[in-house]
Structure formats: C-alpha cells, structure tokens
Symmetry: C2
Subunit: 414 residues, 2 copies
C-alpha cells in the first residue's frame, strides 16, 4: 500500500531512471516527488570548498576495522523549510554543533546510505550504482518528512569529495572507500512535527575486505521473539529507526551461538531479511530446475542495491543478455514469499541448494546453519564457503564493482 502511495507522487525529479527488469518492483523505478519548486534544490555548482590544513595519518590497512577512521574531508548541505537547500560545503572532517532539542536526538529523524568507491590497478576510481543509493535516500527522506533532493547533484558532489580524498582508498586489492551519506532533522524544537531544518552530510571511511581470509559461512538464528518490520511500517526504507531496535535481538542471537538474526514475519514465519542484509534461498525444483528466490518488495523488505544487482545479473543471464560463467542456463529467478517451513523441508529433502544474505558490506554472505524453533537446519556450502549459484554471481558482481568487467553500473569518479 505504501508502494502505491509512493508511485502516485507527482513526477518531475531529475533522478536517473534505472533499467527495471524486476516486474513487481517497478514502482521503485519511478520518479519521485521533490519539494516545492519555490525552494532551492541542491546545486553542485554552488559548492564551497575549504581544504584541510593538515592531513591525518592514513591507517594501516592490516589493522583497519570498519567505520572508525574517516578521511580528511566531508560534505555538508544544509536545508531549511523556508528556503530549501543551501550551498553545499566540502570542508575538513569535524564535529557538528547541535542544540540539545534537535529532532534527531529525540525522534529518530535520521536516515543513511552506504556505498563504496573502488580504485583499480590503473588508478581509476569508480562508484557502484550511486543512482540507486540516491534514489533510495530520497524515498527514505520522504517516509519521515525530511526533504527530497536532486540525486544527480549529490552524486556529483560525492565525486568531488572522493577525488579530494582518493588517496584514502587503500592501494590493496579488496579494499575500498566506504561512503556514508546521511540526513538528519536538526530543528531546535521538541514539538513532534516535520523538521523545519535538516542536514545532508557525507563522510568516508577506508574499509578492508569483509572476508579477508576467504568466505566464512555464517549461522543465523531464526528470530521469533522480535520482528524487524511489519505492513504499514518502515521496513522498506533505510531509516535509522530500523537499526537501533535490532541490536538487542542480535546480542541474544550471539548468546545462543549464532552470528546474525534471520528476521521472520507473522505466524507463518515468512523469511524477510538476514541481519542487515537481504535474504536469498536457492531451491532445486522437482524437475531439477534451480530457482534463486528472494522475498518480494512488499513494503517490509529493504530494496537493496546488491539484491537488485544479483537479480539483474541472474535475469540477464537467463535472458541471454550477458552470460555468467559457471551459472546454469536453466535458472528460475523469483521474487516471492517463502516460509521457514518451506526452507526447512527443502533442507531436509536435499533440495535447499544455498541460503545467503546480500549487502554492500559483504556483497554475498553464505549461510551454513539456521537455528529454528530449537533445532538447526543445515545448509550445504562448497569447500570455499560458497555455493554453486552464488559463487559465479559473486564473481560477476565483484568483477563489475572492481572494474575487471566493464558495465554501466560502474560510474567513473576519476
């Protein structure tokens, strides 16, 4: 129902379209409404650049841990309801000064995105599908009454920021620069209302490979005590509000010996997501056909960029547009609901080929065990930790991301 609502918003945005090959997520491909046209939109040409006078020491790639070290510069763009978006500023990384009454401290007026900049051997720097992140950031903003913005202009500004801090991308294979666009409500007033002031900012952090020593399949806890999302809620948006409530569930799963939560929904225990990733299962159908399945974008599922990329790669392969080596020709690609009962029965009958999560951080995260209602469901993985379907898709996807395979998804920064 939420999806319908979004679809009916007036068009006119300068957001890029992306080529849909996912029938029931076509809503997500439409243009999105922007704010009142009398207000200023974001304009990259107005950027004010203040260079850092000092350069921080680069961290040692060998001891890098995720998201603790940030580059020399950051991007901030202020917004006011009265005037719209102000001049973008690229300036030294520094703290914010905020009144204790601002909405982000009280009412979770915050959302974020995550994407990576890659540098190849020739020094070329690329972003992977930044239009998808900016599109989702706009839908997230609208879901909590924060302002929309011109996505292309923010992509241009992110490129400028990355060019400035390009030397922060470790010159080591598998490393990249994690880009974190964020938006917060910052009107100094504790009345509960759409914020009259907001701030879009982008910070960057060098990151290492998710699996430095090869794939490590993870064990999931099929979580029935907590739920991640519900119809009419916010599960389809990358809002801060989806993340704080998951920490306790994650801690409890860890205590039970599992790495992440497998989020289920309803008395039927529909599979929804894996920790902070989208969920995929691969089934062998009675006639031997392989089906790669993920829950549909029904309003409870985050429209993941990696999820969409996996689906597109598989569909393009099936359609013969772009053959992926080692992937079976006869493949069914499904966005459909699946219950834990189906997953369990498939595992027991030997027809569950794989189970994995997808996300920007890990790309593909194979699963070898799901704890469910007191027993463990065991899932096969290959000797390298991956399965026969996810391995070739992962190779294709990482090839595109790192530039060894040419593809329009890879957007050149410099």
């Amino acid at each position: 129902m939420l999806q319908t609502r979004l679809c009916s918003l007036p068009s006119g945005s300068a957001l890029r379209r992306y080529k849909p090959s996912v029938p029931n997520s076509s809503c997500y491909t439409r243009h999105y409404a922007r704010f009142n046209s009398t207000q200023a939109d974001i304009q990259a040409s107005r950027v004010q650049v203040e260079l850092s006078q000092t350069r921080k020491p680069r961290p040692d790639p060998a001891t890098l841990s995720f998201g603790k070290v940030f580059t020399d510069h950051m991007l901030t763009i202020p917004w006011k309801a009265s005037s719209g978006w102000g001049a973008p500023q690229i300036h030294p990384y520094r703290p914010f000064t905020l009144d204790p009454s601002v909405g982000v401290f009280h009412y979770a007026q915050c959302l974020f995105e995550g994407l990576k900049a890659y540098r190849d051997e020739t020094g070329k720097v690329t972003l992977f599908r930044p239009d998808m992140n900016m599109k989702r950031m706009n839908t997230s903003a609208q879901r909590i009454a924060l302002p929309a913005f011109n996505a292309d202009e923010v992509i241009e500004l992110m490129k400028q920021l990355i060019r400035l801090d390009k030397d922060w991308i470790p010159n080591v294979p598998g490393y990249s620069l994690y880009i974190r666009p964020t938006m917060i409500g910052c009107q100094p007033a504790i009345g509960i209302s759409p914020p009259g002031e907001a701030l879009l900012f982008v910070i960057c952090s060098p990151v290492g490979p998710y699996y430095p020593d090869g794939f490590k399949p993870v064990a999931l806890y099929g979580t029935t005590e907590y739920s991640r999302a519900a119809p009419g809620g916010i599960g389809a948006y990358k809002l801060g509000a989806n993340y704080a409530p998951g920490l306790v569930a994650q801690k409890e799963a860890a205590k039970k010996g599992y790495v992440q939560n497998l989020w289920l929904y309803g008395p039927e225990h529909y599979v929804t997501e894996v920790g902070t990733m989208n969920a995929f299962a691969v089934f062998k159908q009675p006639d031997g056909t392989i089906e790669i399945a993920t829950p549909p974008l029904d309003g409870m599922i985050l429209p993941g960029v990696t999820r969409d990329s996996v689906l597109n790669i598989a569909r393009d392969h099936v359609a013969g547009k772009y053959k992926v080596a080692d992937l079976p020709d006869k493949l069914v690609v499904s966005e459909r609901q699946m219950t834990m009962r189906e997953v369990k029965e498939a595992a027991q009958s030997g027809n569950l080929v794989e189970f994995f999560g997808t996300g920007t951080a890990a790309v593909i995260s194979p699963v070898d065990r799901i704890g469910y209602l007191g027993e463990d469901i065991h899932i096969p993985t290959g000797p390298d930790g991956m399965g026969p379907i996810s391995r070739p898709i992962w190779q294709q996807l990482v090839g595109i991301q790192t530039g060894t395979i040419e593809h329009p998804w890879s957007v050149v920064v410099m």
Copy 2:
C-alpha cells in the same frame, strides 16, 4: 513475549516500585536489570554545578509555544562502556559537539521521556510520578542496548535542576515546566553495534495549558495505510524510532481534515493508540453498566503514565479507596482489545459514551469524530467538550498534579 523477557531479567535495581492495581501489567512493576556491577552507576552526590553567568529573558506566557524555549540550565551525564556513568553535570544550556559518525545520527540510538513540574499558589513545586518515567526510560534504554541507570539518583538530579530554574515555571494557572529527559548513543563509529558511549541529558521548557480556551474535541483518522507498532517491535518503548515514522501519516490525516491518527493493528483493525497518546473508549453495556476500556500492554502499547493514572483512579474509585466526585459507582475498568467494528457498532447503537486520548501534554484529549474506511463515526461530547466519565477523572488527575488534591503521586521538589 517481550514482556516476559523483561520480567525474567535479574532484579537488584534501586528503582522504586509503584503500587500495581493493574493485573495484566504487573510485569511493568518489577525491578529491572542494571548494568555490570563493576561499572559506576549514576550518583547525584557527584554532581558538578556550573551556574549560568547570564539569565535568558523569560518568554511571555501569552505567546508561549511548546518546546521552543529552554531554561538557563541543563543536566548531562556521560556514560562509557568501559567505566559506566561519569559525574553528572548541571551547566548552562548549550549545544552539543558531536562527531558526524555517532550512532544517534545513523541508527536512531535515542529515547526520551516527558514529565511536568507544577508550581502551586504557595510556591511549592512538584513533579508528577517521576518514578514512572524513570522506570520506563530504563526499559527503553535496554530495548536498544543503551545503558540502564539508578532512577532515584536521576530524579534527585532533576529536582536540583528544577530548583535552579524554578523561576521559569510561569506564575500563571495551567502553566508548568516540561521536563525532557533524553538518552543518545554517541560512540564515534558507524559499525552497527551496541554503543560504547552514551549521554543522558535533561532539558526543561516552560509550557502553557494544552487547551487554553477550554476543551476542543479532536477528529481522528482511523489509519489503515500505516501502522505504528507490531508484535516483536518497539511500540511499548518510548524510543525516538516510534516518532519519526508517524509524521507522514499525521500529515496525510491532516490533509483529509483530521487532527490525529487513530492507530489500528491487523486485519481486525484493533484500536491501539491515538497520535502520540494512549486510547480509551467508554461503552454502555447492555445492563447499563459503564465500561471504561483501553488496549492492554501487549507489547504494542506505550505504558503511559497518564494511562496508568486514569486506570488507577477509576479502579480506586470502584474499590471505594478514594471516591471521585461525579463518577458512577458502577463502573467496569478494562484493559482489553477492541476492534473498530466494536467501536463503530457501539457508536451506531448509542452505546459509545466517550472516546479519548491520554498523555502528559494534553492529560485527556476528547474525540468527537473518527474517520474510518470512508465514513465518519460521531462520538458524543458534553457542552464543555468532555464526556461524563473523563470529566471527573480529569478533574481528579489535574487536582493531584497541581496540588489541590493531596496524593503520593505528587513528589515535592521544593
């Protein structure tokens, strides 16, 4: 299920008990776990006071709008996972300086409370049931892996803060000082994990009466497009994450000509909450008995202090402990589920006596109309805007809050 989990936590807290007279919310009356005993708890005796060198001008009560003006001082108490709670500080109201990577900007690591300090004609200043707010703040903190704390010590510190800024309570009947305790996660790292740093802070804002010109019944929009909470979610906790997602629904209700959302749940359209208030309905039963009903604390309902007070006042009246003038003796007090179908049918048959919301801001907010599936359900209100059951309960409650009726719920500040 969540309620059960909380109940099973080890006891040992210094939190005050409150006297339960609500059978199925007894879980809420238990002690709550605190953090590791090797860490420091909050100690009011360690407070460091820095007085403001300047006094801000007091706002004109006649033009005061909610939550935009704050008093001269505030309370902050830092926490670190390694050492526990640091020394509390009462200091001039001033902005925070926070790294762009802190959890509250990205993952909604925030929660809050709201209570009021009243000043009577003799100059006596009181708080209304602050133990209830501190107890709930502890349960909210634990729900998102933020630290618990000694509630009595924070009440003592709030009293000190209020004593310092007592002159900010406008000397006009119906006015009070709104106290806003808040907690945020502020570890500078974007990995999604329980925060290693947090800040508890309290700010104060003078407020006027919610209905300066007498009660104005409100129209609600029975919301089927969005949901506020779901089983296994966070509806029972006063987390920021419950508030940002409601703004868009509120805007849409306003566009349709309604003041607030009536939050419903599930295909049965169970009544849950009213905007940011608890929901009450008053029914006339077939034998003429009056039933005052509110949804049970099933994990989706915020355990409101005003909700609990209304239930207690009505139950004490029925039990003969404390008679409320003008309230019928034969009264049934129910915490039970009710569907929109029941509410609608009762309205149509003339058996819906009242419908109202309860909360700290408005105390009781009468409802005269509910838009539901395309038609309006009309609800009777008296000539003063209130109904025959809520009016005497409101008088009793406000009497206790403002000190004209003596009651242990009123806690003396000075």
